[in-house]
Symmetry: C2
Subunit: 115 residues, 2 copies
Amino acid sequence: MVRKADECKVEHRDHMREGNGTVHIINFASKEELNNKGRLFSRITLNPGCSIGYHVHEGDTELYYMLKGEADYNDNGVMCTVSAGDVTFCPNGTGHGIANNSDDVVEFIALIVYD
Amino acid sequence: MVRKADECKVEHRDHMREGNGTVHIINFASKEELNNKGRLFSRITLNPGCSIGYHVHEGDTELYYMLKGEADYNDNGVMCTVSAGDVTFCPNGTGHGIANNSDDVVEFIALIVYD
């Protein structure tokens, strides 16, 4: 089965996890289409000034694969910079957040798999 | 934890699934890092003329998210064209293959989750 780009479910979330601005999410697949092994497989866009606030994962692990731009990443309390090609891991019981403090768009793939 | 782009494991597979040419795979995470819920989360590059031959998935589901270019996709026996933004699904017991018959590079994210 092929889901064309314009058939993917798009979400616009304001102040996601108490972050700034609006986060744009293109959802590739439902939980059922992920065989209930995860709950998110998406492309996320952070326009300049936008962020996803710091939050702790309970019962699952989230990975980001950075596609575009440069972002400030809170890696369980430790700040670092991530850019295209980098992969981030937030395992069960740890936290993360991501902010676009640059003048360019930040885009990444997000995947959440259950523990 | 952050895995920088140059720390990701890269594979170069010739005639993958009896396809043409060499397929380049950047692996983001191990099976263990996917909580054993899947076995592949990668970025795949097909240069012009390269392909992954048709094969059937047993015990898992593979999704592609097209990043770049235009490819010929064999969707369980039905041919179609996929391009940036499209999502393909190959559930347990069905088959797929993908070929770059264009003059430009094709890139996509691949995810395999177990059934």
